[in-house]
Amino acid sequence: MGGTEGWGPAHPPRGDEPVFEKPWQGRAFALTMLSIGVSGRNADAFRHAQERLDRAGYLDDGYFGRWLNAAELMLTDSAILAPAAIDARARNLRGEHVDEPPVPEPARPRYAPTAGGSLRAVDTAPAFAIGERVRARDMSPPGHTRLPGYARGHTGVVELIQPAAVLPDTNAHFQGENPQHVYSVRFDSRELWGADAEPFAVTAELFETYLEKVS
């Protein structure tokens, strides 16, 4: 979403906001956390599931609605649930009498993490050094990525080298963990948004293959 238009003003914080405004939001939160494991998937696949929702599925029921819809997508992707199972059960819960689809044969991805969490040891030395100028590649890979659109093609400076971690681009698709060095890269606002931008800096954590040297 970074840099996109049309969202209106930001909302001033409310000090008394409950963690879950409505009970269903807490249930959806817990169901989604557990559905990642039930569907045999991972946090990166969960984020990719959110990205694959249509606009209504992503926005209309807020953050926990988005989680619920992403949980449904993960569970149907792994054939734990039939595609229309939730809606059919929901209709029956409110007194309709509709046929529910049969339970499918589960098809979880053939995937197992090599360790807990996302941090991994990497044998190679970091390709970039603190203080080095680097360019975020101008690429739009199919599927999941954590390279934000607004940084693509822009030049920044390595501020920190973070612990190496599983690459979300492949891990989300169960194509391997491909652990890589991760860099906090600092971009000047005028490099990203032009000469008239407010003066400030943005840092983003970028995986090594997102970056290229600046000659």
């Binding site: 930001a10 209709r91 407010e198 800096a201 943005v202």
Partner: protein, 198 residues
Amino acid sequence: MTASGSGERLPAALRTEALEQLLTERGLIDPKVMDGLITEYETNVGPLNGAKVVARAWTDPEYRRRLLDDGTAAIKELGFMGRQGEHIVVVENTATTHNVVVCTLCSCYPWPVLGLPPSWYKDPAYRARMVKEPRTVLSEMGLELPDGVRIIVRDSTSEVRWLVLPERPAGTEHLSEEQLVPLVTREAMVGVAKVKAP
């Protein structure tokens, strides 16, 4: 709706109940585990944890140094760790430098120290605009920063999580660590507000 493709959009609360039934009746999840998760984030894991970290850093210079040097380890000293806290980097706000945290790609947030994110953090306007016009967004949220202050926006694009160590307000020199804790808000620890003296 989303995956089913049928026309009418059913209420999220009803669909949540349906999903819980479907998974529970097949023994795929345990409602008690769900209850435990909800209770954990409603009562145990919230911004009070982060406030304790900040108050300790304000009153113990050695802890402050460790916190800025290795946030994850220093936070763990106080017993805070777990989901969304694999690697936490702490940055200090001062009179001249102001850090503010966002996640433009989803809503990544340092759960062990701040709990689940508040609505304003998850709002599309915040996510979209913080990396483009942070001074304007902060002003809309009630924080006016002097012109000379350097703003650094921290976009949480990997599993690294950011925590802001806010400036200790003037006039609190006489307060103890325990008295400082309730002054520290989650807004200040994300960087959309400052801590105010009582």
